[in-house]
Amino acid sequence: MITQRSPLAAYDPTAFWDEMFAAPGVVRPHYEALARRLETLSADEVTRRQRAADLSFQARGITFAINQGPSGLEKIMPFDLIPRIILPDEWKRIERGLEQRVRALNLFLHDIYHDGKILSSGLIPPELILGARGYRREVRSVEPPLGVYTHVVGSDLVRDHRGEFYVLEDNLRVPSGVSYVVENRRVLKRVWPQIFADYRIRPVEGYPQDLLSVLREVAPPIAEAATVVLLTPGVHNSAFFEHAFLAKAMGIEMVQGSDLFVDDGTVYMRTTSGRRRVDVIYRRVDDDFLDPLAFRHDSFLGVPGLLATYRMGRVGLANALGTGVADDKAIYAYVPTIIKYYLGEDEIIPNVKTYVAADPSERAYILEHIAELVVKSVNASGGYGMLIGPHASKADHDEYRRRIQADPRGYVAQPTIALSRHPSWSERSLEGRHVDLRPYVLFGKEIRVTPGGLTRVALRAGSLVVNSSQGGGAKDTWVLG
């Protein structure tokens, strides 16, 4: 089926679960049409299209900032032309699994900020919850509209060597990356329209409108025609492009903290025709910086009096304050327990086995097996604060042992997962590269999972780190309809 000359002939799909190939030379059925297209193309032609895609990202300024600060560089997120394809049934299960997870986590958040039943249940050590950095006493007893705390969630899924999906972590605070989902599709359609002809692919362009509906749904009851704004930390934030992209696509103002002020229990923005009332803030600024009166006093990114106004129920925040406790990496270990406790169900997508260093016996296990484990700081994200045991030196192992003993609450560990691989275009041939999948879940009156999501790919050969800040790229992700 695959000819010798084709770029697919030399591809080695062994050693890991490969998304496209079942065995060397044997393409999985749903990738066959794509494989046929790839066979007709010379390496030059693929390279040409790759370059066209890169230029398109560059010209449209679809960038993220690295080296934070005024002199920060902007880079494009490397884009890999070969799309990832997900079968309808696979997707259905992912969808149901994420919906279950997000529902349970919102019940959990409501509980811990109200009656705290789970705190007395003996199922999760209360100090793990109440001592989490993301736990905010400031939002106790607040009733968010519809009981929803996490309006936007991006959970990271991975696939192991048997092709089984796992949730690796949940991002419940200000998950980013969704603009790439929309832009990757747009660019791939522009530079390689032919490959779309063979598939019925569920669209992702509707995301901004879906998000806007959710934001309107969580407006405080006092608002009639809700004015929604997006609050950005500013141009130096790594996700600034996304903020501008979403604001424009939703047709709402993108504001900075200094554009807003509070008067008489109302948030206003400063406009050229005077003050204008704001009802819902889609905030892309972390809790700590949202209100200098309540949180970090030195923050310039927030709005003085915002917390008080939120507590009065006179402005909506998405995501709500205080969601960080539920994506704490130590709490993550208990998500199956949380699902069982609130929904009475078993989890549909399993967790990765996680050892919590705060627990003495699990800590002992981590210290002993550190060379086999991935150790993560509970408060870091973006691939920082992480030790990949098998790839690390003896000195690094010792360093992390020391850190864990000094701050057990600060660390968890997981077995290394042999992430699945996907053919990716590298120089002049297809090479297997490790991938994950970040779908986006919207929660207003109902839960919507955008069909697709961001497939992140570790473009460096052998690397397991898919984060854009660490040399990762992205692929268009097709959910077949």
Binding site: Q58, A59, R60, G61, Q68, G69, P70, G154, N171, R173, V174, P175, S176, P233, G234, V235, H236, N237, S238, A239, F240, A244, F245, A247, K248, E253, M254, V255, Q256, S258, D259, M269, R270, T271, T272, S273, G274, V285, D286, F289, P292, L293, H297, D298, S299, F300, L301, S381, G382, S469
Partner: protein, 330 residues
């Protein structure tokens, strides 16, 4: 529309217009040098209010000096930085044009060109900035963002032309002797060219190059877009549109509208002979003062009005802190 966005659009337009003016000035001075001869006189020094500077040094200062905030490359960089922050308020075409222009200026090959063939370099940049102005007109709805862009463009233009005339006022002052040398002619033409106005002038005055006519043309012409009168009129139109949104019911349109109306009316009703009689330099100085006042009033009413933030809870402005605050991502 957010005050911050209006502010950024207004300044973006000013930097684009400023870049065009700087570029023209360099172009004209190069030609002047060729026409009259470099040893004949010092043309470059007065451009930056300095003497004993080589043409190379001044040209570098105006063209590619990153440390000069008003150099051509700095203008492009500022405009692009501002555009980046308000990219949701301008068209994608405008953003892409400005973004690719800025990126191309950063290329080593372009920087070499700026050194070697500065004439075609600055001409190319100027053309792209003018193209950007055209794009704004054809890809943006002519509503509030457009009004702030126009306001910035035309106030900058009026200010720039007045500035240039003030710098050349000594050349243009009426003289007792009737003999005009070739060198004088060349200089006067250069003033016109600096404002991109030589051809249009020829249409109006059939090549009779006289200082008074030049000043009249650049100050008072009602229909030529590089004249101060035209620019102030266009700025006034834009400001009125903006002001109408703010105070539809009020009788008082605000200080900026009143001040701009006044200076525009002064120019509209001025006669060139009277201006020369009462002193060109004084007149130009007065106009420039008025434009500065209008700019301040616009800022206070519509733009980012930021008094020093003074917070009881403590203020720290360290760059490291800002970076830490912005480094939040998931």
């Amino acid at each position: 529309m957010l005050c911050r966005v209006a502010d950024d659009l207004y300044w973006m337009a000013r930097y684009v217009e400023r870049g065009i003016a700087v570029s023209r000035l360099i172009d004209v001075t190069r030609h002047l040098e060729l026409d009259v001869g470099a040893e004949e006189s010092d043309f470059w020094g007065p451009l930056v209010g300095a003497i004993d500077l080589s043409g190379e040094a001044v040209s570098f200062f105006l063209l590619s000096d990153q440390l000069n905030p008003d150099s051509l490359v700095s203008c492009v960089r500022h405009a692009r930085e501002l555009a980046r922050g308000v990219r949701e308020s301008i068209s994608s075409e405008m953003w892409e044009e400005l973004n690719t222009l800025q990126q191309s200026l950063a290329l080593p090959s372009k920087q070499r060109q700026a050194q070697g063939d500065s004439v075609s370099f600055q001409r190319l940049v100027r053309q792209r900035l003018q193209y950007l102005q055209g794009l704004a007109g054809s890809t943006l709805a002519h509503d509030e963002p457009w009004d702030f862009l126009s306001l910035g463009t035309y106030l900058e233009r009026a200010d720039g032309v007045v500035r240039l005339l003030r710098r050349q006022a000594h050349l243009l002052a009426p003289r007792d002797d009737e003999d005009t040398s070739d060198a004088d002619m060349v200089r006067w033409l250069a003033v016109l060219r600096s404002c991109g106005s030589a051809e249009a002038y020829a249409r109006f005055y059939s090549l009779r190059v006289e200082p008074a006519r030049i000043v009249e043309f650049l100050l008072l012409n009602p229909v030529f877009p590089q004249s101060v009168r035209f620019a102030l009129g266009a700025a006034q139109d834009a400001l009125s549109a903006v002001a109408a949104l703010r105070s539809a019911a009020a009788n008082d349109p605000g200080p900026a509208v009143r001040s701009l109306g006044r200076v525009h009316a002064d120019i509209e009703h001025a006669a060139i002979d009277e201006i020369f009689e009462s002193g060109l330099e004084d007149f130009l100085f007065g106009v420039q003062q008025s434009i500065a006042q209008v700019s301040d009033e616009i800022a206070a009413t519509y733009l980012r009005d930021e008094p020093e933030p003074s917070r009881l809870v403590g203020v720290a402005r360290a760059a490291a802190l800002m970076a830490a605050q912005q480094q939040q991502q998931q």
